[in-house]
């Protein structure tokens, strides 16, 4: 364990550095290959619209993977994450243009726990809407 943040240095309400993660169709194709999730709603606009979606949407697990980067970049050691959970509330819509979509993540320390652990609550937004609910991680600090 090599967390770079000291437990003693954080308090409830401490904000982590926020980050934004762009997502284009090319990103989704790359993620599909890496994750093995080839559901066409993540790359085929015609199919996505036929099943009632506004457009191609990002994999929920992609959004979950991006959101936790705010925590792992802060703590330094990604292996310091002890728990991580989210609810998928709204999809991240990814238009077929140069911009694509954007996932905007903020996070703050919500509770100090025993054993140098803290609970971090995350907020992930896209196009002005919350895309993850109940998004929480428990991380072990130095």
């Amino acid at each position: 364990m090599a967390a770079q943040i000291q437990y003693a240095d954080v308090e409830v309400g401490t904000e982590l550095p926020a980050a934004s993660f762009p997502v284009t169709r090319a990103t989704l194709v790359q993620y599909a290959g890496a994750s093995g999730d080839f559901n066409p709603i993540h790359w085929n606009e015609k199919f996505a619209k036929e099943v009632g979606l506004p457009d191609v949407i990002a994999h929920g697990m992609f959004t979950m993977a991006e959101a936790i980067r705010v925590v792992t970049d802060w703590v330094g050691d990604p292996g310091a994450v002890v728990e991580y959970g989210v609810r998928f509330t709204r999809p991240v819509v990814v238009p077929n243009d140069d911009q694509g979509g954007l996932i905007e993540v903020t996070a703050k320390v919500a509770a100090k726990l025993d054993d140098n652990r803290v609970r971090v609550d995350l907020t992930a937004m896209s196009a002005g809407q919350k895309v993850l609910g109940m998004s929480r991680a428990v991380v072990e600090l130095a």
Partner: protein, 150 residues
């Protein structure tokens, strides 16, 4: 149609081991744009106290979700997989997944509910390495949306 409550508590046999490769971890980290060297450089991983590169926290989902396929495709359960969406996902880690791991998943149905015509199923996947050490538990909530009927 409501799912059979008798499936609650049912466990499925452990999956054949999935062998975690360094290159697969690198591919996954690149796909999520994460440049932390602990995912790609064994020396960096060692400096953090790991025997080899570790995987990003959500990497293991590909393994547990494949294992959950035993459940969702169980013909006796009768879930309409074409209507399934991912509701919630949670992980609890004993240690990070790392290159060289041979991981086996035991899936258990934790609950089966019917909410407003939707079938909601909670699956717990316990992930162990080849020595039997617990690595991570994954909880996956799947929602099978009710068909639109006139």
């Amino acid at each position: 149609m409501a799912l059979d409550q008798s499936f609650v508590g049912r466990s499925y046999p452990p999956t054949d081991p999935y062998e975690v490769g360094r290159e697969k971890i690198r591919e996954f980290a690149a796909a999520v744009g994460d440049t932390n060297p602990v995912f790609s450089d064994p020396e960096a991983a060692k400096s953090y106290g790991y025997p080899d590169v570790i995987a990003p926290p959500t990497f293991v989902f590909a393994i547990t979700f494949k294992a959950a396929g035993q459940v969702v495709q169980d013909p006796q359960l009768g879930l309409d997989y074409s209507r399934v969406v991912h509701g919630d996902q949670k992980f609890a880690y004993s240690r990070p997944v790392r290159a060289g791991d041979r991981l086996s998943v035991t899936s258990t149905i934790e609950s089966v509910k019917s909410l407003a015509g939707n079938d909601v199923i909670d699956i717990r996947g316990e992930v162990h390495d080849e020595t039997g050490e617990h690595v991570v538990t994954a909880w996956t909530k799947l929602v099978s949306r009710a068909p639109e009927e006139a």
